[in-house]
Structure formats: structure tokens, C-alpha cells
């Protein structure tokens, strides 16, 4: 191997070469790009497609692209999609079946070869979200084989966060703007150049093929300073309480009625959430009835059909559906998957049409539990 195992620096030409090299390797490179008034994730043909000079202005229920003067490529957050759109796509066919002339049925599993993905610009929060979906979809007894196929070969290039948005709160979920292990390469953008750290052998090999220089002290210091400063500029925060226990003890909270008045039960929050994994499956026959297909598609606990058993939905009220979302995300997720289901990316806050804010709801629940009439049974004092 070369000198590339230590941190290195790429300039704009190096970044161009990075994308070109991945494309030349036959990879489908996905990264941020501007479309329809937002920074979306889509296939990149070259580094020119990156959103140089675009930033975002975020608030609850509001997202606006804004011009930046510094030409930065990775100074945006909480876009309308996440990497799950590619690793755990919204629709996929699982299998089909055909009646045979002799009266039998032939089943064909749908196992298309996965594209060889390279994800460019994975935020530290989204890197954690991918790790959470890995645990959910491949870490248990029943592996989602389609997810595993798409995920196994994916090459991850993180972009550390130097520009948190007004709806970001990763620090209060135990994360932060620096990338945890799990990436192949990690970039930190400083003034038009990129500090690169290598996280895997494949990452090292790729870096060796790119025009780069060894990291100078000035760039390293500036990169660390920018990421450190981002830590203190989170737009929001979860309250400093044991959120898992708070939610576990809040089933009867009055706050659920309050949020149910405002919630449209439209499902946007779960669709944009990078960790929400719920799906439904539908069998679809054709007119002849000789051919049938099973399709999987994203579903959500906000969908009435989601909890429909014989006779009706289990969670009929908006109250019970919003409660399911928050309680699963922040509490029962620990019971199932040994972590929280929230990485603090802020998407559910920005992309909720009415601006319901998960941090505000948790804060209100904490206030209700701590100061309300049930203060003596404060779940936070239970172990």
C-alpha cells in the first residue's frame, strides 16, 4: 500500500477524479445534487453534479435552498431522501408465480443483481442510520436478502458535518458531526479542499489512485475546528433525560391528544426517516389469474391499513399512531435492536407539512412527566 493510510488532502481535481474513478469502476455513484428546489440524492455522472454553492434554510415544516458564497459542496442537511431510498427502496418485487399447463404453480424469486453502489457525501448521522438499518434488516434471525445484496458491495464516502441545520440534533442522540467508523473514506470540507481519512482497505486503494497530497497541519486543524464548532451549533436538542424510560412511561400522557390535533397522519415523517423500515406486501394477480406477483412497498405506522386486523385497525386514532411512531423510535427500538431508532437528522421535523417537531414533543412529554400530577411516578426515576 502507499502513503495514503494517513490523512490526505484532495482538491477539487481530486474530487473530480474520485467520482470519475468510481464511475470507471462500474459503480453507480449516488450523491447530493440540486433538483426541484432541494438537494436530493441521485445518480451523479461527475463531481460537477454536486451542489456546489448551495445551502439550505430549515425550520419545522420548511425547507429552502439558499445560495452560499463559499461554493461548498457539502454544506446542506436534512434533504427529502436518505440512503434508504437506495438500500431499502420504496417498491420492490419479491417473487412472482405462474400457473403451469399441468396445473401446478412455478415460483420465481426476484433476486436481481444489486447495482454496485458508491454513496458520496454520507452524513455522520446517516452513517449511523445505515448501521441501524443493517442491524434491523440483516442483524436478526431473518435477513432481508435484497437489502443485504445492495448493502454488501456499497462503497461509503462520508462527509463530516461542518454546517448543521436548524432542525439537526444528532449530538443529543449520542452522535455528533464527526464520522464514526463504517465508512470507506471520510471527507471533511475546508475552503474548497477536502481532508480525507481512510476507513477501509478498499478506501485506501481508491485514494491511492487519486491525485492527492499528504494532509498538512493547517488543513487538519481547520477540519477538526470546523467539525468541533458544528457540535455546538445544533439547531435543536432532545431534553437531557432518559428518553427511553420517559417514552416507556408516557403511554397515557395528555400530550398525545395535543399532538393528535395537529398531526395529519400523512406519514411523511416515517417515509423521510432514514431508519424507519416498515413495509407492507401485496400480492397482485393479472387479469387471467395465471400470473401473480408479490410486491413489497414502504408502509408506515401512520397508515390505518398498517395495523388492520380482522374487523378494523388496532391503532385507529391519530393519538395512538403518533404515539407508536415516537415510542418505537425512541424507546421500544432499544428493546428490539439495542439502540435508539433516532439519529437526530431532523428530516421528520423539516418535512412534516405542519411542522411537528419530535424534540418539542419529547420536551413536552418530559415536562408533563416531571411536573404534572403524575410526578411521583416519574418514569425517569425508575431503573
Amino acid at each position: 500500500m502507499t502513503d495514503t493510510q494517513g490523512p490526505a488532502v484532495l482538491d477539487r481535481d481530486g474530487l473530480n477524479a474520485l467520482v470519475a474513478e468510481l464511475v470507471a469502476q462500474g459503480r453507480t455513484v449516488i450523491g447530493p445534487t440540486v433538483r426541484d428546489g432541494a438537494v436530493v440524492l441521485a445518480e451523479l455522472e461527475s463531481a460537477d453534479d454536486l451542489p456546489f454553492g448551495w445551502g439550505v434554510e430549515l425550520d419545522a415544516g420548511r425547507y429552502r435552498l439558499v445560495r452560499r458564497t463559499d461554493g461548498a459542496a457539502f454544506a446542506h442537511s436534512a434533504g427529502p431522501q436518505s440512503w434508504k431510498n437506495f438500500l431499502h427502496p420504496a417498491r420492490q418485487r419479491l417473487w412472482s408465480a405462474d400457473r403451469t399447463p399441468s396445473g401446478g404453480v412455478d415460483f420465481t424469486a426476484d433476486e436481481p443483481a444489486a447495482p454496485s453502489y458508491a454513496f458520496l457525501g454520507v452524513r455522520p448521522c446517516d452513517l449511523r442510520a445505515i448501521a441501524i438499518q443493517d442491524r434491523v434488516l440483516t442483524g436478526g434471525r431473518y435477513e432481508d436478502t435484497g437489502y443485504a445484496r445492495r448493502r454488501t458491495g456499497a462503497f461509503l464516502i462520508a462527509a463530516e458535518c461542518t454546517e448543521p441545520g436548524a432542525t439537526c440534533f444528532c449530538v443529543s442522540t449520542g452522535g455528533g458531526p464527526a464520522a464514526d467508523p463504517g465508512y470507506d473514506l471520510a471527507l471533511t470540507e475546508v475552503d474548497g479542499r477536502f481532508l480525507v481519512r481512510v476507513g477501509s482497505e478498499a478506501g485506501g486503494e481508491l485514494l491511492a489512485r487519486l491525485p492527492h497530497s499528504a494532509a498538512d497541519e493547517g488543513t487538519e486543524r481547520a477540519a477538526h475546528a470546523a467539525v468541533d464548532a458544528a457540535r455546538d451549533r445544533m439547531g435543536r436538542a432532545l431534553p437531557p433525560v432518559d428518553v427511553r424510560a420517559l417514552l416507556a412511561g408516557s403511554a397515557d400522557a395528555e400530550r398525545w391528544d395535543d399532538v393528535a390535533e395537529r398531526c395529519l397522519t400523512c406519514g411523511n415523517c416515517t417515509m423521510v426517516c432514514p431508519t424507519c423500515f416498515c413495509v407492507t406486501t401485496e400480492e397482485v394477480t393479472d387479469l387471467t389469474g395465471d400470473h401473480t406477483e408479490r410486491w413489497q412497498r414502504w408502509d408506515s405506522c401512520f397508515d390505518l391499513d398498517f395495523s388492520y386486523l380482522h374487523g378494523g385497525p388496532v391503532r385507529a386514532s391519530a393519538r395512538s399512531r403518533y404515539r407508536q411512531w415516537l415510542t418505537h423510535k425512541l424507546s421500544t427500538w432499544h428493546d428490539q435492536f439495542d439502540s435508539s431508532g433516532c439519529v437526530g437528522c431532523g428530516r421528520c421535523i423539516s418535512w412534516c407539512p405542519v411542522g411537528i417537531d419530535i424534540t418539542e414533543e419529547v420536551t413536552a412529554l418530559a415536562a408533563e412527566a416531571g411536573t404534572g400530577p403524575t410526578a411521583s411516578a416519574d418514569p425517569r426515576t425508575e431503573s
Partner: protein
């Protein structure tokens, strides 16, 4: 023998029946599975009922319509209403909020020739309906799915959730959040595939209320995005006005 299919029309524009003719890729297969016994838009040859599956387009706006729809029901084993007129009264239900006599006087040279009811009502207000397929017009794929499901004896895969589900699955950037464009998607029944937001327009609510609607919660967002009271009312008073009105009152 193949099951018989009939298509009927009350007060409507014919757009929904045309959707059936528009199913070009599936028409041959369909003709192989059902006997099209009554479909005046396609053929004047009519076979007598009873019909196994009747598709009914249009709303009830005359006493005659009301009588006819009862006869259709009596002559149909399975009755599916198609389109906003048949499922919600349609755009002609705007008369429900106006003085029909005044309309008659203003619009027609000989108002005395016009015999009409004061309201436009959905078929379900008159007879039992086995399934309601929404939309103005209905979606082609959903129509085929309803017929296919009927042939297979299963429930159609026609989800009750909001347009936002389809919009996000399609990867469209939300026009409300990112552009400040008023959109009825969060309260509207899915089915169109979130067509309008994909063209940077807000949803017009063609499919009527979804299975889970909190319309009062959306009104402040419409106002924030520049609609005054009159504009909000106009936005909701299109193809499914009575259905949305009911949601506002509940």
C-alpha cells in the same frame, strides 16, 4: 361462461368510462376474461342483465337518475362506483351550496323544460355499493386492479392512505415544504401516484378525502402559504366538495 361486465352512466362527463377504453394494453386480455354486456360508449349492442359486475359513473341529479340507479342495482350482482361524481357527487355537487332555481333561470332560455333535483348526490346515498373507486378521473391501473380483484374474488389493492405516501415513495420533493405551494396531498386519498406534485403543482384533491383525514390541521398551512378564506374554500370546493366539507365539520 365468462362473467358479464356492464358500464352505466348518470350525471357525468364520461371521463371515467373512457378510462376503461384507455386501458389499451389490457383491453384484449379483459375481453378474454369478461363478456362486455353493456357499454354504450364502446358498442350499441346491449345484452340484458343481470350483470355480474356493473361499473357506475356519475351522480344522481334527477329523479329519473335515482330510479335508474335502483334498477341498475337490482340488475347487478356486484356494483362498483367509479369517479368523483359517483363517489362524492362530483363538481356538479357545487349546486348543493347554491340556489338551483336561480341557476335554472340564469342558464336556460326555457327554465320550465329543466327538471332537476336541488342536489347532486353520490350513488351510495341511494343504493348499496360494493366498492367505490375514487378519482377525477379514476386511475387506469386502479380500475384494472379492481376488475382483476373482482375476477379473482379478492380485495383490490387500493390503499386508503394519503397522497403523501405515494409522493414520498416516488421521490418527489414536497411542494409545500420546499416551495410553499398549497397542496391537498396530506388529506387526499392516494391513487393517482402523486401526479401533480411530480409536476411541481399542489394536489387538487381529485380523489377526495383519504381514509384518515385531519383537515382542520391543514387549513393553517394553506393560510401560511397565502390562501385567504375564499381561496381555501375554492380549493376544497372542486370535485369532492361535500366530502371535504364533511371532514371540516367533523
Amino acid at each position: 361462461m365468462a362473467p358479464t361486465l356492464a358500464v352505466f352512466k348518470l350525471a357525468s362527463c364520461d371521463g371515467c368510462q373512457l378510462t376503461l377504453l384507455d386501458c389499451e394494453d389490457e383491453l384484449l386480455a379483459l375481453a378474454g376474461e369478461v363478456e362486455i354486456a353493456h357499454f354504450l360508449e364502446a358498442s350499441s349492442a346491449v345484452a340484458p342483465g343481470p350483470y355480474d359486475l356493473s361499473l357506475v359513473e356519475g351522480s344522481v341529479t334527477t329523479a329519473e337518475d335515482a330510479e335508474r340507479v335502483r334498477a341498475i342495482r337490482a340488475n347487478s350482482r356486484h356494483l362498483v362506483t367509479i369517479g368523483a361524481c359517483a363517489t362524492a357527487g362530483g363538481i356538479q355537487a357545487l349546486r348543493n351550496y347554491a340556489d338551483v332555481d336561480e341557476y335554472r333561470r340564469v342558464v336556460y332560455a326555457h327554465p320550465e323544460y329543466i327538471s332537476t333535483l336541488a342536489t347532486s348526490t353520490p350513488v351510495s346515498a341511494h343504493v348499496g355499493v360494493d366498492f367505490e373507486l375514487r378519482g377525477c378521473p379514476i386511475d387506469r391501473r386502479q380500475l384494472i386492479e379492481v376488475i382483476t380483484a373482482f375476477l379473482a374474488g379478492r380485495k383490490p389493492d387500493v390503499p386508503n392512505h394519503s397522497v403523501c405516501f405515494e409522493c414520498k415513495r416516488r421521490g418527489t420533493v414536497c411542494v409545500t415544504v420546499a416551495h410553499g405551494t398549497p397542496c391537498l396531498g396530506p388529506v387526499t386519498h392516494a391513487g393517482c401516484g402523486a401526479l401533480c406534485p411530480a409536476y411541481r403543482r399542489g394536489c387538487f384533491g381529485c380523489f377526495g378525502p383519504s381514509g384518515s383525514v385531519n383537515l382542520p390541521a391543514l387549513i393553517p398551512v394553506l393560510r401560511r402559504d397565502g390562501m385567504d378564506d375564499a381561496a381555501v374554500e375554492r380549493f376544497l370546493h372542486t370535485f369532492n366538495a361535500p366530502a371535504f366539507d364533511e371532514e371540516l365539520r367533523s
